[in-house]
Symmetry: C2
Subunit: 535 residues, 2 copies
Amino acid sequence: MGNEDKTNQKRGQAPAASGWIRTVQAKMEGPSLEDNRADVDRFLNQIRQSLDSEEVAIDFPLVKKMPGILRKEGYDVQAVLYRANHLWHLIDILPAQKGARIFGLAVDLGTSMITIRLLDLLTGGIKGERSFLNPQLEMGPDILTRIHKASEEDGLCNLQGLLIQGLNREIGQIVKDQGVSFDRVAGMSVAGNTTMTHLFLGLDPYWLCREPYIPVINRPEPIRAGELGLGIHPNAPVLVCPNVGSYFGGDLMAGILSSGMHHRQGTSLLVDVGTNAEVVLGNRDWLMACAGAAGPALEGGVASMGMMAAPGAIDKVATDRESGELKLGTINNSPPVGICGSGLIDLVAQLYRLGMIDLRGKFVPARCGDHLREIEGMKHFVVVPSGASATGKDLTLSQADIDSLLRSKAAMFAILTTITEMVNVSLRDIQRFYIGGAFGSYIDPRSAITIGMLPDLPLETYRALGNTSLEGAGQALVSKRARDEMYRIQDQVTYIELNVNSRFMELFSAAKFIPHTDRSLFPSVKQNPGSLNIL
Amino acid sequence: MGNEDKTNQKRGQAPAASGWIRTVQAKMEGPSLEDNRADVDRFLNQIRQSLDSEEVAIDFPLVKKMPGILRKEGYDVQAVLYRANHLWHLIDILPAQKGARIFGLAVDLGTSMITIRLLDLLTGGIKGERSFLNPQLEMGPDILTRIHKASEEDGLCNLQGLLIQGLNREIGQIVKDQGVSFDRVAGMSVAGNTTMTHLFLGLDPYWLCREPYIPVINRPEPIRAGELGLGIHPNAPVLVCPNVGSYFGGDLMAGILSSGMHHRQGTSLLVDVGTNAEVVLGNRDWLMACAGAAGPALEGGVASMGMMAAPGAIDKVATDRESGELKLGTINNSPPVGICGSGLIDLVAQLYRLGMIDLRGKFVPARCGDHLREIEGMKHFVVVPSGASATGKDLTLSQADIDSLLRSKAAMFAILTTITEMVNVSLRDIQRFYIGGAFGSYIDPRSAITIGMLPDLPLETYRALGNTSLEGAGQALVSKRARDEMYRIQDQVTYIELNVNSRFMELFSAAKFIPHTDRSLFPSVKQNPGSLNIL
């Protein structure tokens, strides 16, 4: 991760005419005594014909600009417009250049990491991409801290300001790199959790985390970029992917859209793995969603050796078939610095298979041998000894780290069980199991099944979708059909509040074991104890 | 005239629910775990039910304000909204007070004189009225000078600024006088000629007076008052009565609306007498309009003793039946200072009846006796000798003054003849002849017929409507039906350009005589020579 540029066109994008942000050529007859319509009337008449729509609105500053540009360009111009609220709104009038392009930005507004993607609005092609740390991290590492900060004097304004400044810096870089003029960026779509979109819009998040958890707004109309101080065309519409509630944000709505599960006849599950486990179950007829705090353990965030995915992070752990020894893989093959989420799940799965932890997740000293240390009264497993680590210190996994991971995986499994039970669908009937989130892409489903975090389904059921939030935001930006689908999904989703669900608590307790108290749910998971040597 | 306050309810106004600016009570259930909709969704849902409309848009600053006011008011509020572009737009959210009122301002934006009228938007009742000189007079007395000034550096901005400042000063006074808070003024409608509305909106009027005479816009969508810097509620919509073309403005559109001629089966004529003579002919099936420069003579503006209607202006001239002498009436019965438009028409009509001018408008010395003076080589008729005037000087009417008036009256009559000929309607078939404009109300139709300015119709055909521009602007402000009717009128009116009409020039020449070269057109006009003594 970190700052990076990508150029790809991995998925088919919408063609030009289907966009809700588009250009229209307007070549008019000039005025005469026989045809002395007002400039704006002449222009609108032409645009209405081209769009085959009566409903076109022009903001007043563009009305002022109209006579000058029409005469300068000899009544031959290109209009840039967007559609919202049953109206086409004029963004700008440009000279009628052949092949003039307009661009848009899709933004995944993560609590920790933000990714922006520059798209060609007429072809849907991806021009570039950049990821960077959310600048709000300096005011608070997590959502709750930021909600708290927002209620301090100037807090909300500062949080929004940091974010907009950070976005503008990266937008400036991406348009420069791609040789695009900022005023040709004619639209933006933003997907984030409900708190992040509130902070982005400068809306008070105070009530989001207080019972009964009320957002200010779930589906804002597109806002002009200039109103938010964004460094693109000031009239460009900013589409915020809609929330379903305080704990179910536009990022997941974009995720559903990009998964296509709402089109499939068979029932699918979509899971976004993060601090919150967000789960959607459904098919083309119905969609159920719930979210619950899974804790940051799944992301590796709280383990003593935990870190974000970066060079040197252990991201893969396997057992060598012949030697029976643990094999560690690191990002960029750099010397190990710590462990990221996917590595942690792999590691605990391997420790269990090797019999080094039991079904409660407790270390089995006889199996662990001299890997086990007692530090400040707690058992630690040395994953990488100081001599082999990049830090010069032992990289260790504590009993508390495992306990934390098991609580998180239990929460995830309990959420999956609760939601399927509610609609009377067996987990075994799930035909597709989509795993979203940048981090989700790196999880090995085999390991996740072993620890009982994901259900014991055939491995081909699992599909890692990568950054579904960014992908869905991009689709909703370039295609009217996709945007409208997203709004229909929002209307269709039934959200279940787990905080007040007693069945969830029962299921949570039963899921704290490896893989589960009911072993019959995980027939494929077997222990295969062997010796342990870290390669 | 001058600053004055009026309170009347002379005409029936629209009831509350028919307004396009209105209030709606929104009393909601508060949020709970069972009903955790977002604040804006909850509010919108209630509003949509009350309005029976799905389409409600909220500007972003009001979205921000929503959670605070809903909680402060216990989810019981009053929404103020306006309808435009097929959408209801939220203006503000107020505490749910019983009987809370909202107000609006109708504005007649004259080139010389501006009148504002404060209306209760819920009852349509008139709260007060103020008239004042157009502050743009200091930059240019007439439209052409102002168009010229507008193209100088900062010229347009200064012209707009003077106007907005002047309006704000008077608005501040009228709301203070009526005990109304400025932020309860939730709408404004403005009727003016095309140049005045361009200057009001800050639109470049450069092309209005240059062939082929193209306005920037004819039918602007309502603009928020804040965008124009007007001192009422910043979200209040400002409706500008639409133009048909450069020489046919929203003032006349409002005039047609207020006359009701577009509803009548019989054919009517509406004339707005001013520097431009604006004429509309039609009925409920069709409407034809034209405008032509009549010159300021009809307003008394260019005569050597000419003045605006003000105390001391001679506004009535009659011949005493018994003595055969001229009787002068002045405004407020003050000693005479000069003569205004209606007085001038009366005076020339009397001079003709008394045989003191001939059918060419030339003085008949034998009849005028010692009233006639030669000043700088031109004949002058002493109307008030220096001893009787308030100025201490003779008040005189020159041969040039009469010539100028006859050209103006000829233009008016030629316009009336041209437009009726075009649709093959005889002037004698006109069932109603409406005279609009503040000045029009004071014209004696008998005198206007005598000089051949108006056709020789039964006197009961003539109806003085007063300030039709202000009246129509008020109707369009308080009633959605009236506003929509005005837009339909705009679509319906066929505008005839007289500047390129050769028949008009023929008719103009024939109409320069008193009453006309074709005397059969004016059977009622007779000369009745007598002695002249001014009473």
